[in-house]
Symmetry: C2
Subunit: 555 residues, 2 copies
């Protein structure tokens, strides 16, 4: 609450900040080739191209820098190449698809970075599945060599997996036997929940460092087919053409995504529609989303609006801000969500989005908003929404209040919240429910009723309908909000992370929530254990002559 | 594999072994009173009655010793008091229901014990819910004083919660603000998933150390009603009578449960039907279940068979052996599951159980088997089933092979496995699926077909149907099994725990699996974190003048 206090110096992250933006022109590790309706993502990871010094990206092993390129490629294919119906992920290296996350990078990383790195890579893999499901871009993995660890978890996120049958190339999850950690980029979950490999076979597979190849890999369901080296490339092309031919994506014109390039000044990161203000002394940040100044009328082909179109630009900015908060400002535990602008413009835009949701570009923009809100749900920070004068928490922007752990609403006749048609399920959470359904998990009929009759609500009405956490009158606003913020900022960051991971996801679980809730929680536990990261731990000693020494007690 | 090697000395657990058996005559902390169809469990925890020295059980706080009594009471009510239809859980102390798990006990405990303690207390609370759902014994919580932390998590496991309205008594989950850990005995999960409290209210509640009382507790769904002190007792009795009156449990004669008292000699723990042999040098144990020598014909009232009846006795023994393995032998990471005896007798008994499953006592026996197998699924040890000569992995005992991480079957015409009607869903896992459905999660029609036509299978047939992991011929058996065991015993215990927690539970999630998979995994992570257990951690410093100091980085 020191908004008016001068900041002596800008808040510097403890390590060089991560920049999440890139562009194919600057890719060092990935070759993105588009050939009509088929795109190729080829891993050609530069050994000396690590994001940080101290490790070598051998054998197509990856670090965050590689994954940023991968995420960028998946994203650009949706927007810039909407004519693509099939994406083949393969390797430009001979005999190796990928050996997964770089172990030396992991071994040298701090716990918090490891957790955030894994979260980001998990999100990227889920975006691949999302592109297959919702953007009509079906991903195939063409494993022209060994795919090990994270190098097999990436194919697991693809719709189909093909492996070369050369008596050498295998798929493997050697994390347990080699490193004493889990295949945590969704590997364990996807093996049994997506590929539905029999659990005892999965048990054998996940403890077999050398992996499984040939017919047995097919029989166990680890890959969809194996093809001999001589025919591999032809078979892959043939299958990609089949997949692409099944889709009709003609007449789409791609929308280039320009760089966001926010203005970073002192403790403020300013985008066009989003502003992030850091308040390190209070261990918090303020994230403000501005409404569109005027909702433009949609042209016959909405894609003509391009990357400047408010909802796309805003979603991309918000997404970038969330990622910066995760990677660059770990000590800021609380994020205040604010909105500013004219609610009418937001609702007008929502109406346009809803009316045109079947247009490919509008669908992509809504998908970008959906993924951004999910990213917020999955961020290990507390979020409080402040619904005060000048705010515009309506429709799409009300999702921010619904995603927040709490919302405080000023009792003032000018302050309103509101729903639009887009709150009814356009932006599902990872658990498959809308945020209204999650909020009213005990009263599904209320969620349905509210969604069916979208309107705006003044303070008392909003409170009665259960749409906000607490009403505060003007006299108490400053004190009440300040106390809530101070109290939150005083709590143990770890317990808040665990608490929020439970309370935010009531109800059904999905592959997504299992990856983040179950698999990642176990992995985070293991990433703390001396058996993995202690001086004699397996992760620590990987690649050294010394063997790991374990404390044998099972927990 | 040193079955024949002499053991120089018996394997001594690193701390005094935990004895999981007790009896109402020996209760120190709980008063169990049965009054017709209503039973009362009254917490009257003896401050100086801790299981280990070094802490005082003030304010009805509990340790493992208390929970063993609670579990015993819940169990005996099912079998010894089948006429009971309503169980009221309340406190014998004035103004305090319970203040939850004893913090000093937790603070002084090793990580592995904390995790196993929480697992056991979670199981007991699930057994309360199971008794309500499947034994017709509805639990009510009568909170005649403050219910805090684990002291509120116990009521959360009851069907209805009533709180005295005395302007003082509240329900609270103060773990996050006071201790920097989670309400990990199902608290977070049950608040949003069972009581379906709105997530933002749950967020406020779980960070409000003093808790919530009176009307607000009702409005938020934290309790079902509040009654003034003057009427509280009468109202509770009235409600208990209503609940009890709705059930008809006449004509049932209780079955006393005698002590198991296994013979503990050297490295062997021998029950009547179950034997546990410890092989500490190999970091493993062998758990052998013997078939009934002859399946007795069931009398008109099967409860006349009493606690000696094979399936009940065997299940109780197996349950006790599993708990001893968890608490007393943490370093033994692998358990070999063996069966011995005549498969025909097992199948005959299964037929009797299936034919009489609606009889209350048979229902209870099947429930005991169900819970025991679940306990095995949830045990952080690897299980290999060895299906060899003399084994009888059929029907109920085949659940052991299905629960195992792997099964090895000897290719020998005399060796068979088999299904009975009881494999079709009588023993669901925590995820709600039968073990056949979990195994064939990718082929539900196969699970259905196998369950619909129960029969026995010789080795090749069993392999073809996918019922075993691997066939091994006689020549290779010793080497193959030895190698598999040695390899398993060499792996990092932590990574195996995380791996098994993922691979064993494909498919749907339930409140149960969320408690063990999501909540417990996060809690285990937090239980490792310096913010909780370091020298300046909140759990460490609880009750001391010094305040906790946190590393503020969010993960």
């Amino acid at each position: 609450m020191e908004a008016n206090a001068p900041q002596a110096t800008a808040y510097a992250p403890s390590t060089a900040p991560v920049d999440l933006e890139t562009h194919p022109d600057r890719y060092r590790h990935i070759k993105l080739e588009v050939d009509g309706s088929i795109a190729w993502i080829k891993l050609a990871i530069q050994e000396d191209g690590g994001l940080r010094p101290g490790y070598v990206l051998k054998l197509n092993s990856y670090d965050l820098g590689v994954d940023i390129e991968l995420a960028d490629a998946v994203q650009r294919l949706r927007f810039e190449h909407p004519e693509v119906a099939c994406v083949v992920v393969t390797s430009a290296l001979d005999g190796v698809f990928s050996s997964g996350a770089n172990i030396f990078m992991l071994g040298a990383s701090k716990h918090g970075f490891k957790a955030n790195f894994c979260k980001y890579t998990n999100e990227t893999r889920l975006y691949i599945e999302d592109a297959t499901a919702h953007s009509g871009q079906t991903y195939l993995a063409a494993l022209n060599g060994i795919a090990s660890g994270g190098g097999y978890e990436l194919p697991l996120a693809c719709e189909e997996i093909y492996l070369v049958d050369d008596r050498r190339s295998a798929v493997a999850l050697p994390e347990v036997p080699y490193l004493g950690v889990l295949p945590g980029t969704g590997g364990l979950t996807r093996v049994v929940d997506k590929r539905k490999v029999r659990r005892d076979r999965a048990d054998v597979f996940c403890t077999l460092a050398e992996g499984i190849k040939g017919k047995r890999a097919v029989e166990w369901g680890l890959v969809d087919a194996v093809w001999p080296s001589s025919k591999f490339q032809d078979k892959v092309v043939e299958r990609a053409r089949e997949v692409a031919a099944a889709a009709d994506k003609s007449g789409r014109k791609g929308v280039p995504l320009d760089a966001l390039q926010p203005a970073v000044e002192g403790d403020s990161i300013r985008y066009r529609h989003v502003e992030l203000r850091l308040e390190p002394s209070a261990r918090m940040a303020r994230l403000t989303v501005h409404a569109p100044s005027q909702a433009e009328a949609l042209p016959a082909d909405p894609s003509e609006l391009g990357a400047d179109w408010y909802p796309l630009r805003m979603a991309r900015e918000l997404d970038d801000a969330i990622l910066r908060l995760r990677f660059n400002y770990p000590e800021l535990g609380l994020v205040i969500l604010e909105t500013r602008g004219d609610p009418k413009q937001v609702l007008e835009l929502d109406a346009q989005l809803a009316a045109h949701k079947d247009h490919w570009f509008v669908n992509e923009v809504l998908g970008q908003l959906k993924r951004t809100f999910k990213r917020l749900d999955l961020t290990a920070k507390s979020f409080f929404a402040l619904i005060d004068q000048g705010s515009c928490f309506v429709g799409t922007l009300f999702e921010l209040a619904l995603a927040a752990d709490r919302s405080y609403m000023l009792e003032d006749e000018q302050v309103q919240v509101g729903l639009s048609a887009l709150n009814a399920g356009t932006f599902p959470m990872s658990n498959g429910l809308s945020r209204l359904q999650s909020r009213f998990y005990g009263e599904p009929e209320r969620a349905e009723r509210l969604a069916a009759e979208p309107r705006t609500y003044a303070a008392e009405d909003a409170d009665e309908q259960g749409l906000v956490t607490q009403l505060v009158d003007e006299l108490d606003w400053d004190d009440e909000v300040r106390l809530a913020i101070e109290e939150r900022a005083s709590l143990s960051p770890d317990s808040l992370t665990g608490m929020e991971a439970s309370l935010r996801f009531a109800g059904p679980e999905t592959l997504e929530t299992k990856v983040f809730g179950r698999l990642s929680a176990w992995q985070n536990w293991i990433f703390q254990r001396p058996n993995a990261v202690g001086p004699k731990g397996a992760l620590t000693l990987y690649g050294q002559p010394e063997s790991a020494e374990y404390d044998w007690a099972r927990t």
